[in-house]
């Protein structure tokens, strides 16, 4: 009886116990596998499957070894839009910036930017967009490819192995000519892995001669650069060899320098090799002073174009992101370009830099919240406020510059000579340089809000001073106008 009852109860219990252990074992195994995977993820930073070298410009090849980075790099082809930047939606060319802000068009009269000036697209489109811009209806220099293509192999080819020689020769080619050579050489890719990484070690490096020369000139000047400690250290040393970012800069600085190879103010024309104007410092005035100090062909003073309406010799600002960032609180705190534009992303137990380079506003949690512990909404609102203020001030700058141009036109119609308008035109150059410095910069003032407002304030002041000068060309001036 006892035996029988024990048997009849224990069989289902035994089965139940067996099933419970089976499930427990399965869970323990699953957990073991998961832990194993995570450990492997943390161990292997990458596995080199194909060999890449200095001539491997095709990013797809690098993508075999570094799939995580390549996958995100490819996303730069995705259209993104923020309130003040970028374009979204279709595959079509982005919207015309100059149609939206008519003062831009009038400001650029006499320059190719008056023909075609659009919102930006991602890194993936840099070469294609440049090949398609209507600005090419005016002759353009081969220098432009310094930043729009993975050009180092072509520079080496042109210079007989010496990239710097090739770079120095490249400005004499027309854009079409050099672009054709680029396609023939098989290196027609937009900015690629090899442009910022040493193929053997993947270490960050700068390759562009324009930057290397510019930063060297900056180091040799005595402009304060508290945000670039390695430059200050080099200055304090014996200066036996020129400053070399690849040797002297810290890893954190390199995370900005690689971007500074292109996101800067420069001259890129047919008169001299591509030049980064940093010999006197990085502020709008420093750069202006540098341009004022060098000749252009026969002209004693450099200028980008002669304004079609007024005849003033004016400067065109490119996109001085590196320069404006240098004046801001983020740079001063040691925050690099990549920290916000390529923040770390986690994939399992590994951490990689997001190579989908884009506005931090599209990636607030990773880009901002690492340091700023407030909600995404709050961060977004703060940035929006900063950018809106900059936008409003910039519109006032545009209006002031239009006022100046109107006054110059009126004075000319009334018979004023160039000599009588000299002061007004000089002020146009100063005003326009400052306005464009902030308008062309791609952060709507965010990279250094206070500095941007200061530069715009000066732009407005110079424009209105110029307007007064143009209005009082025939009469003795009643107001004493400072031009410095």
């Amino acid at each position: 009886m006892n035996d029988a009852s024990r048997k009849s109860v224990s069989l289902p219990v035994l089965i139940g116990v067996a099933v419970a252990f089976a499930i427990g074992t399965a869970i323990a195994t699953a957990l073991l596998m998961n832990i194993f995977e995570r450990k492997e993820e943390a161990k292997n930073q990458y596995i080199q499957i194909v060999e890449v070298n200095e001539d491997t410009t095709d990013p797809e090849k690098w993508g075999v070894n570094w799939p995580r980075e390549y996958e995100t790099y490819k996303r730069t082809a995705i259209a993104t839009r923020t309130r003040f930047g970028g374009h979204g939606g279709s595959e079509a060319m982005p919207e015309e910036k100059i149609e939206r802000d008519p003062w831009l068009k009038r400001m650029f009269l006499g320059y190719a930017f008056a023909i075609d000036y659009r919102d930006r697209r991602g890194h993936a489109y840099m070469l294609e967009d440049q090949e398609k811009t209507e600005r090419l209806s005016k002759p353009q220099s081969g220098s432009c490819l310094h930043c729009h293509a993975s050009i180092m192999p072509l520079y080496r080819e042109l210079g007989g192995g010496d990239a710097v020689k090739g770079f120095e020769a490249s400005y004499q080619f027309s854009y079409e000519e050099l672009n054709k050579k680029l396609h023939d050489s098989g290196h027609a890719f937009p900015v690629s892995c090899v442009d910022c990484h040493v193929p053997k070690t993947m270490q960050l490096r700068v390759t562009r001669p324009g930057f290397t020369r510019g930063i060297r000139a900056l180091a040799e000047s005595d402009a304060p650069v508290p945000h670039l400690p390695s430059v200050e250290r080099w200055r304090a040393g014996n200066r036996a060899t020129p400053y070399d970012p690849n040797r002297d800069a810290s890893r954190s600085e390199m995370r900005s320098f690689v971007c500074g190879q292109c996101h800067v103010e420069y001259y890129c024309g047919t008169n001299m090799p591509l030049t980064f104007p940093w010999g006197r410092g990085l502020t709008a005035e420093d750069v202006e002073e540098y341009w004022n100090s060098i000749p252009l062909g026969d002209a004693p003073r450099f200028f980008d174009y002669r304004h079609k309406e007024s005849g003033a010799e004016v400067l065109k600002a490119q996109h001085p992101e590196f320069e404006l960032w240098s004046q801001g609180i983020h740079a001063r705190t040691g925050v690099s370009c990549a920290d916000c534009h390529m923040p770390y992303v986690r994939d399992g137990a590994t951490k990689v830099s997001d190579h989908w380079v884009r506005s931090p506003l599209l990636n607030i949690s990773r880009a901002c919240q690492t340091c700023h512990r407030v909600s995404e909404d709050e961060i977004k609102q703060r940035v929006d406020k900063i950018q809106q203020r900059n936008f409003d001030l910039m519109q006032r700058g545009g209006a002031a510059l239009m006022g100046l141009l109107d006054a110059v036109q009126a004075a000319k119609a009334a018979g004023a000579t160039d000599e009588q308008l000299r002061e007004a035109l000089e002020l146009q150059r100063k005003a326009q340089w400052r306005l464009d410095f902030i308008a062309a910069e791609n952060s709507m003032g965010f990279h250094a809000p206070q500095e941007a407002a200061r530069v715009l304030g000066e732009a407005i002041d110079y424009a209105r001073q110029g307007q007064i000068a143009a209005m009082s060309w025939s009469a003795p001036r009643s107001v004493d106008v400072a031009t410095n």
Binding site: F21, R38, P229, A236
Partner: protein, 170 residues
């Protein structure tokens, strides 16, 4: 009957053995220790571990000194609670990033600030410091544990190690 028991026993043994191996493989015992390295076992807290080494408190306090109740049952409850949440998060990768301290852990942290610094600041914190709207020590002293920018390392100061300009003229 005894055969069946033996079979179930073998099954149980397999599971216990596998579980024990998994536990050891995952450095399970380290979680019972005081060692800060244990907190970075799973790599998620590498930036926190790295930045702690560069911050002022690393000479005097480890992770658990600030982040867990000091003693008693509360310490083990908090350890178990965090351990479970973190393991679950890392296994299923379902946690929000960047990681942020929870309210409960934030209260432990405040208690621990006062555990060491209480004598110095007791006049300042005469009222409650654990109310939701009370100002916590780390509201202002945010960088004592991990420096100013946990995810990125701190800024390199120009003066650090640099020869002052003009010093070589002597």
């Amino acid at each position: 009957m005894s055969k069946t028991v033996a079979l179930v026993g073998a099954l149980a043994g397999t599971m216990i053995g596998l579980a024990a191996f998994t536990f050891d493989y995952a450095h399970g015992l380290s979680y019972f220790s005081h060692d800060p390295k244990a907190c970075a076992n799973c790599h998620i807290m590498n930036p926190q571990y790295d930045s702690w080494q560069g911050a002022s408190h690393h000479t005097s306090a480890t992770c658990v000194d600030c982040h867990l109740p000091h003693a008693g049952l509360g310490k083990w409850i908090a350890k178990a609670d965090n351990g479970f949440r973190h393991s679950k998060g890392f296994t299923f990768e379902d946690f929000p990033e960047p990681i942020r301290i929870t309210d409960g852990n934030s209260r432990h942290l405040q208690v621990n600030c006062l555990r060491c610094h209480g004598d110095l600041v007791h006049d300042l914190v005469a009222g409650s410091t654990s109310d939701a709207d009370a100002v916590r020590c780390v509201h202002c002293h945010r960088d004592v544990g991990h420096g100013p920018t946990t995810g990125m390392g701190g800024p390199e100061l120009v003066s650090a190690g640099a020869v002052p300009r003009g010093a070589s003229n002597e």
